[in-house]
């Protein structure tokens, strides 16, 4: 154990806790991946926290697959519009220049290559970039939704996830055990401990949390990785 002592939070699944909330740590780091003018899609959970870390007035289009391009943010009861939700069911508002479209055109944007980044959480991810986040046979099978298309067809797929399961088991594996959402689709994995980049050849540890260390990362990562010669902290 390192001096930066690791505390396993039961029912949280977060490792290496400092004073900062791991969800904040992950979403803050993820926000740095977005370039001005991009079109992004945010899965449920941690990804929804990303916009709060962006510079104000940064030009950006948030796509929600139920047919809105230009999501603003969630709104309170007073501003909730019965005709305006995101794909998670949250009442939202829109930015100037937002548009609505049907479900076919909404996914044409995704599959046609216009979506710059998808941010998703996951159950498992492999060192090859395979993703498994839609089904646990016999236990959890709510359907596919937009996950396969968002994972397989975004120009970049960034996984924002706790480094392990709530039970402390590795999520970053050699091979996914669960049925895949899509194969070789993940470009970057951001956890509270590390940032891994996945190339066609290998998984590379690019950054390590300043609250963590290499040993901790290694212990909680089943997939093989190479440590970048330019390893930095975040």
């Amino acid at each position: 154990m390192s001096l930066r002592s690791e505390i396993y939070h039961q029912n949280m699944g977060y490792l290496s806790i400092m004073s900062i909330d791991p969800k904040i740590k992950i979403s803050k780091r993820a926000a740095q991946e977005i370039a001005p003018g991009q079109i992004i899609n945010l899965g449920i959970g941690i990804p929804t926290l990303i916009p709060s870390h962006l510079p104000p007035n940064m030009p950006l289009s948030i796509h929600s697959e139920n047919g809105v391009i230009g999501v603003g943010g969630s709104v309170d009861r007073q501003h909730a519009d019965r005709n305006l939700i995101d794909a998670g069911g949250t009442y939202i508002d829109t930015i100037p220049g937002a548009s609505y479209c049907d479900s076919a055109l909404s996914f044409a944007l995704v599959r046609g290559g216009r979506l710059d980044i998808t941010f998703l959480g996951t159950l498992e991810v492999s060192e090859k970039g395979d993703l498994a986040n839609w089904i646990i046979p016999g236990k959890f099978a709510p359907g596919i939704g937009g996950a396969m298309e968002l994972a397989q067809k975004a120009r970049r797929l960034i996984i924002t996830t706790t480094h392990t399961t709530k039970q402390g088991k590795a999520k970053i594996l050699k091979e996914c055990r669960l049925p895949l959402t899509a194969s070789k689709c993940v470009d970057l994995i951001i956890t509270e401990l590390s940032v891994f980049r996945i190339t066609p050849k290998e998984m590379i540890l690019e950054e390590i949390a300043e609250e963590s260390d290499l040993e901790t990362v290694a212990r909680h990562t089943e997939g093989s990785f190479r440590v970048s010669e330019n390893l930095t902290t975040f």
Binding site: S64, E65, R82, D86, G89, Y91, Y100, S103, G143, E149
Partner: protein, 231 residues
């Protein structure tokens, strides 16, 4: 002038047991609650239902399913409806899942008179099992056949008497696709205006696709904001 307006009861007159019914909507927005209620009243059984999701327990198509009227559900995601997931797990409801945009494309293909589309979505997953693989320019794709229905139930913000429809915001979703893909298309509308009053370039679904238009009248509460989704 053509006048397609009628009561909900008249509109679903020929809807019957064992039929295939498409229902618009993604969550509350765009779900035709009034028309769904009419089918509950008719108590048609053994229906095949095509809808993005199953609404939430006690609401919309979930009521049809809970009422035992649905044999088979073709859908994309049931994450917000544990009641329907339970019925699926018990074997009381047959469920077929498709990726959301592929479900949209299959419906659209039905409306466009195509036999099928070919997509690589899910090609490396269990979705490939039991599906026909087609090679196209050296790439492998899955053959996804077109979906059509006997009836499509559509919710529009506005209609004219000729059946031209306009949708509001995210209430559009599957509605314009399904409005092309059924033998009988019934649209409920929040407002009905005289034919010619909707600017032609702003019409989302041409009336040529629509058979009946039903005025909703005062909006029942289920069309409103779902309090538990307000953050």
């Amino acid at each position: 002038m053509i006048d397609k307006t009628c009561s909900a009861t008249e509109a679903v007159k020929f809807l019957n047991h064992d039929q295939v019914i498409m229902v618009g909507g993604f969550g509350v927005p765009g779900t035709p609650f009034l028309l769904i209620e009419e089918i509950i009243k008719k108590d048609c059984k053994a229906l095949t239902l095509i809808k993005n999701e199953a609404n939430e327990a006690g609401l919309g198509v979930s009521r049809l399913i809970e009422n035992g009227q649905v044999k088979r559900l073709i859908t994309s995601h049931l994450g917000l409806n544990s009641t329907v997931i339970a019925l699926m797990n018990e074997g009381a409801l047959e469920v077929q899942f498709f990726p959301q945009g592929i479900l949209a494309e299959k419906i659209r293909a039905g409306g466009a008179g195509l036999l099928a589309i070919v997509t690589d979505i899910g090609i490396d997953t269990i979705l490939r099992d039991n599906k026909q693989v087609v090679r196209c320019n050296g790439k492998e794709g899955l053959l996804e056949s077109a979906l059509r229905a006997d009836f499509a139930l559509i919710h529009a913000a506005m209609a004219d008497r000729a059946g031209n429809l306009v949708y509001a915001k995210t209430a559009r979703n599957f509605n314009p696709l399904m409005a092309t893909a059924a033998n009988c298309v019934i649209a409920e509308a929040e407002i009905i205006v005289e034919t010619g009053q909707i600017p032609a370039d702003q019409i989302h679904t041409p009336g040529a696709f629509v058979d009946h238009v039903v005025e909703i009248g005062d909006l029942p509460p289920e069309y409103g904001v779902l309090e538990h989704h307000v953050h």
